[in-house]
C-alpha cells in the first residue's frame, strides 16, 4: 500500500518501517502473504475510486485494484476476482503505484543541442522525430530507420509501431526487448508445435502433482505464482523439484534441489528421455497418434560474428533412429558431464514417467537465455510428448515470461523483424492479409526479415541503421557486450529517440527524449504468460507533456503522411486499434475476447470462442479448434502432429579456461524489476536492495580470502568491473561460478557479458561466459 502525500510525516515513517520489515520478510520467505495488511493499510476516511488493472511489472499478470483520490493513485491491492493471483500481490506489486511518483519523472520533451538537453514542446519534438525519419529514409533508404520496443509495450503501442514501420514505411526493422528474453520460447513452441505460447494455463498448478523448475528462480521472479505452488504443497502434498545451476530461495523452498553444470541441461533432458524409453514409460499410443520425429543441423556456431546467418534444415527420422541417438545419453554418461548424480537423473525420469502423476515443467530465463535455447525448449517438450503429459489439466510444459506483455504485444502482435500480427513476413498470404487490414499496398510489406536485436545494434554500429526509436526499454543496461553498442549509439550520424518515464543510461544516448505516460496514466492492454489479455483504463493524468507511446507513434505517422492508416480519434483510439487488431486473429485458433468482455472481467484467455476461454489448447475436450476427430490435434503443424526433436548436447560459446576460470551468470532479484529504472525509485525497495553484488561459493571465497562486502574485480574478455562480494547470503552459486544481478545501472555487468546467441531464436545467452575473479 502507498501512503498519499497528505499523510503526516510520522505516519509515513511508521508505514516505511512496516514496509521495510515486510520487504525483509518477503526476501526471507518466498511467497509470504500479508493479504490482510493490504486491506488494513488503505487510508481510512477516504473516498477511493477502485479500478482494476493488470500489474505493471512481470509477465504473471496479477490483477490489481488501484485506489485513486483527487487524481492521484494512493492505494493498491490484489484483485480477489483475478484468477491469476486471487487477491495476492508480491512485494513489487504492493509498491507498484509508487513507481508513478519518482521525483525525476520525465515531464517535458528534451532535444540534445551540443552537450545539453533543451526543453521543447511535444509538438516540436514530434515534428523533429518525423522529419529526421523522413530525412534518413531519403538519404540512406527505408532500412536505415528502426524501432526497438518492449514486452512492456501495451498491445496498441506494439500494433501501431508494427503498422507504421512494416505496413507504411516498409521496413522490417521492428524489434523488441523480448528478443532478449522470450524469443527462444517462441522458436521452441514453433518448432515443436507450429504455434507459439503455452498450451495450458495457470490452472494447471491446481492439478499437477510434481513441479519441475528448469533453471527458474520462481520464488524471486514469479513470487505470486510460486506461492500458488507452495499453497498446493500445503493442501495436497505436491512435490517441487528445483533443477538449477545455483542454489536460490527457490531451491531452499523446494522439496529437492538438483544442481547441474551450466549448459548441460541439454544432456540431462536427453538422459530423462533415455530413461523414459528404457523403463517402458513412453505413452506409445500418444506418440504413434500425435508425434513425429525430426533432427536438425548441429554445430551451428554462436552468432558471435556480424551478419551471422543460420537456417535450420529439419529432417524426418524414425523413433528407432531417435532411440539410437539417445544411447549416448545414459544417466551414467550424463552424470559425468552434468554433475547430476545418476540417482537424481533417475529420480527426475521417475516423476515424469509415473503414469499416476501429473507433471508441470516451468521455466523462464535459464532455458531461454541459452546459446542452445531452442534445443532445450524442444527437449523439455520431448519429455512431455513421450509421456503424453501435455495439453491436459496438470500436465503442462509451461514457459513463463518476465514482462507484462511479452506475450500479448511482442509475440501476439508480432513486433519482431520476421513477424506480422498473423503469421510471418516471408509468407505471401500472411502479407496480403495484413496489408488488407492495414489498408496499405501489399508491396509495402517487405518479404525479407532484416535484423534481430543484437544484429540491429550491430547495424547501428556499422552505420547500416542511422535512426533508432527506443520505447519502454533500457538497452544501454540490458544489451550483452554492452560497451560496443553504447559506443555505437554515440557515433556521429546516428539519431536516437528514446521514449521513457525516467532518465536512464538509454536516455543518456538520446538525441530526443520523449516523456511517456505510464501504465494507468493511459488506456491499454497487456497479455500475460497464460494467454490472458487484460485491459486497463486511464485512471490518472500523465505528468507535464507526457503522452502514451501509442499517441507518440500515431502523431509521427500522421506527420509522415499516413493519416489514412492512422485514422484513429483521440478519445476512442485504443478501442479502434484493438478492434482492428482483433481482425488479424479471427478464428478458433487465436480469437481474442471483445473489448467489452475485457472491461468487465479480469481478462480473458485466448482463443476466446463463442464466449468461452480455451484453457487447454490442442485437446479436443477443451479446444474447439481441434478438427481431426481425435483426442488431441496439434493443428499448428500441417499433419496435426507435434515434433519430438533429436537435439544433442553442445558446449557454450565461451567456457572457463586457465585465464578466465569461473563461469559468470547474470539474473534478477525479487526487489527490482529488470533494470530497476522504476523499482529503484521506490524507497523501500531501493533500501532493501541498494546495489548489485557478486555471489561466490563459500569454498571459493574462503580460498581467496573474500568476505561479504569485500571488493571483488571481475574480468572477462570484454571488460572489468568491481563489485562487493556476497557469500552465503541470498543465493549460493556452485563452486567456480559467480552470479551478478543486472538491475544496477552503476554496476553494468553487461559490459562483461558475451553477445553469443541461440542460432535459431537469436536470443543472447546471459547465463554463461568465462570470467576471472580477483579480490581487490
Amino acid at each position: 500500500m502507498y501512503t498519499s502525500l497528505q499523510t503526516n510525516r510520522r505516519d509515513f515513517i511508521k508505514k516505511m518501517a512496516k514496509l521495510s520489515a515486510m520487504t525483509a520478510a518477503a526476501t526471507m520467505f518466498p511467497g509470504i502473504i500479508f493479504a490482510e495488511e493490504q486491506e488494513k493499510g488503505i487510508p481510512a476516511d477516504t473516498n477511493l475510486d477502485w479500478k482494476k488493472a493488470p500489474c505493471r511489472f512481470c509477465g504473471v499478470g496479477c490483477g490489481v485494484l488501484i485506489g485513486t483520490e483527487n487524481g492521484k493513485a494512493i492505494a493498491v491491492k490484489g484483485d480477489p476476482k483475478s484468477p491469476v493471483n486471487k487477491g495476492l500481490c508480491c512485494v513489487k506489486g504492493y509498491h507498484s503505484i509508487m513507481a508513478l511518483y519518482g521525483s525525476d519523472r520525465l515531464t517535458q520533451p528534451l532535444v540534445k543541442k551540443g552537450n545539453t538537453y533543451i526543453k521543447t514542446s511535444m509538438k516540436e519534438a514530434l515534428d523533429l522525430v518525423a522529419s529526421k525519419m523522413r530525412e534518413t529514409i531519403k538519404e540512406y533508404g527505408k532500412d536505415a530507420v528502426s524501432i526497438y520496443g518492449s514486452g512492456q509495450w501495451t498491445i496498441p503501442d506494439g500494433y501501431v509501431a508494427s503498422k507504421l514501420f512494416k505496413g507504411c514505411i516498409g521496413t522490417n526493422n521492428v524489434e523488441a526487448n523480448a528478443r532478449l528474453c522470450m524469443a527462444t520460447a517462441v522458436t521452441g513452441f514453433l518448432t515443436s508445435f507450429g504455434l507459439d505460447e503455452p498450451m495450458g494455463c495457470y490452472e494447471d498448478i491446481d492439478y499437477a502433482d510434481t513441479f519441475v523448475l528448469w533453471g527458474n528462480n520462481m520464488a524471486e521472479m514469479h513470487p505470486v505464482l510460486f506461492s500458488r505452488l507452495l499453497d498446493q504443497r500445503q493442501q495436497r502434498g505436491v512435490k517441487i523439484v528445483d533443477l538449477a545451476t545455483r542454489t536460490t530461495r527457490t531451491s531452499m523452498a523446494a522439496d529437492k534441489s538438483i544442481l547441474f553444470n551450466p549448459q548441460t541441461d541439454l544432456a540431462v533432458a536427453n538422459a530423462i528421455c533415455y530413461e523414459l524409453i528404457k523403463n517402458g514409460w513412453v505413452n506409445n499410443s500418444f506418440v504413434e497418434e500425435h508425434c513425429n520425429f525430426s533432427k536438425g543441423l548441429t554445430k551451428m556456431g554462436y552468432g558471435l560474428e556480424d551478419n551471422y546467418q543460420f537456417t535450420d534444415k529439419p529432417e524426418a527420422i524414425s523413433f528407432e533412429d531417435y532411440k539410437t541417438f539417445l544411447e549416448d545419453y545414459t544417466p551414467e554418461r550424463v552424470s559425468v558431464v552434468s554433475g547430476v548424480s545418476v540417482k537424481d537423473i533417475k529420480y527426475l525420469a521417475a516423476h515424469y514417467g509415473d503414469p499416476n502423476k501429473k507433471v508441470m515443467s516451468l521455466w523462464c530465463m535459464g532455458m531461454n537465455q541459452h546459446s542452445r535455447g531452442t534445443w532445450i525448449n524442444n527437449l523439455v517438450y520431448n519429455i512431455h510428448l513421450l509421456t503424453g503429459k501435455i495439453s491436459s489439466p496438470g500436465n503442462s510444459p509451461f514457459s513463463l515470461t518476465g514482462q507484462p506483455s511479452a506475450c500479448g504485444t511482442v509475440r501476439e502482435v508480432g513486433t519482431l523483424t520476421h513477424k506480422l500480427p498473423h503469421g510471418v513476413v516471408n509468407n505471401k498470404e500472411n502479407r496480403e492479409f495484413a496489408a488488407k487490414i492495414w489498408n496499405v499496398p501489399v508491396e509495402n510489406i517487405d518479404p525479407k526479415p532484416t535484423y534481430h536485436t543484437v544484429e540491429m545494434f550491430r547495424a547501428l554500429d556499422r552505420g547500416d541503421i542511422r535512426f533508432m526509436w527506443i520505447q519502454v526499454t533500457n538497452p544501454m543496461v540490458t544489451m550483452p557486450k554492452l560497451k560496443r553498442y553504447r559506443d555505437a549509439a554515440k557515433k556521429e550520424g546516428r539519431f536516437i529517440v528514446v521514449s521513457d518515464i525516467y532518465p536512464t543510461p538509454t536516455t543518456d544516448i538520446a538525441d530526443v527524449i520523449l516523456p511517456s505516460a505510464m501504465w494507468v496514466e493511459r488506456e491499454g492492454m497487456y497479455g500475460n504468460s497464460e494467454r490472458r489479455t487484460q485491459y486497463f483504463e486511464k485512471m490518472l493524468d500523465p505528468p507535464g507533456e507526457a503522452i502514451s507511446d501509442t499517441m507518440q507513434l500515431i502523431e509521427v505517422a500522421k506527420r509522415m503522411g499516413y493519416e489514412k492508416q492512422f485514422y484513429y480519434k483521440d478519445e476512442t483510439h485504443i478501442e479502434e486499434i484493438y478492434t482492428e487488431y482483433r481482425k488479424h486473429h479471427e478464428g478458433k485458433k487465436h480469437n481474442l475476447a471483445p473489448l467489452e468482455v475485457l472491461k468487465s472481467q479480469a481478462g480473458a484467455i485466448w482463443p476466446y470462442v463463442d464466449g468461452k476461454e480455451t484453457k487447454w489448447r490442442f485437446n479436443a475436450k477443451y479446444d474447439p479448434a481441434c478438427s481431426n476427430g481425435k483426442d488431441f490435434h496439434f493443428y499448428g503443424k500441417k499433419d496435426g502432429k507435434a515434433v519430438i526433436w533429436q537435439r544433442p548436447y553442445e558446449p557454450a560459446a565461451e567456457e572457463p579456461d586457465k585465464e578466465y576460470p569461473f563461469w559468470l551468470g547474470t539474473g534478477r532479484v525479487v526487489e527490482h524489476w529488470h533494470t530497476g529504472s522504476m523499482t529503484r525509485r521506490i524507497p523501500v525497495l531501493h533500501q532493501a536492495m541498494p546495489h548489485a553484488y557478486v555471489e561466490l561459493h563459500p569454498e571459493d571465497a574462503s580460498r581467496m580470502q573474500i568476505k561479504t562486502g569485500d571488493k571483488v574485480k571481475l574480468t572477462t574478455r570484454r571488460g572489468d568491473i568491481t563489485l562487493p562480494a556476497s557469500v552465503n547470503e541470498r543465493g549460493v552459486p556452485a563452486p567456480m561460478q559467480v552470479f551478478v544481478p543486472f538491475f544496477d545501472e552503476n554496476m553494468l555487468i553487461n559490459d562483461l557479458t558475451l553477445d553469443s546467441f541461440c542460432p535459431i531464436s537469436k536470443e543472447p545467452d546471459y547465463k554463461k561466459c568465462a570470467v576471472k575473479v580477483e579480490k581487490v
Partner: protein, 79 residues
C-alpha cells in the same frame, strides 16, 4: 520519538498467543503473515526511556523465539 520495525518469530504453535499479547500493548502494531510463522512488529514510543521499557517487556515474552530489528527511525531528526 522512536519508530522501529522487527521481524518476530514466535515459538512453534504460539503465533496466535504472540499476536494477542502484542496487540494488547499500546505501542505495538502487528502485521501477520498468513502463510508463514512470522509477524511484522512496528513499535512507536514517545521517548527513549519508554522505548527501553517496551524492549524489556517484549524480551520477557517467552512465546517469542526471536526478534530481528529491521529498521529504526527517530522522528525528531529529518530523514
Amino acid at each position: 520519538m522512536p519508530i522501529k520495525s522487527y521481524l518476530v518469530h514466535p515459538q512453534e504453535s504460539k503465533k496466535h498467543a504472540v499476536i494477542e499479547m502484542l496487540s494488547r500493548m499500546q505501542q505495538c502494531d502487528v502485521v501477520v503473515a498468513e502463510n508463514e510463522n512470522i509477524l511484522v512488529l512496528v513499535t512507536e514510543t514517545e521517548s527513549k526511556e519508554e522505548e527501553a521499557n517496551l524492549k524489556e517487556a517484549l524480551e520477557k515474552i517467552g512465546d517469542i523465539k526471536l526478534m530481528a530489528l529491521v529498521s529504526g527511525f527517530d522522528t525528531r531528526k529529518k530523514i
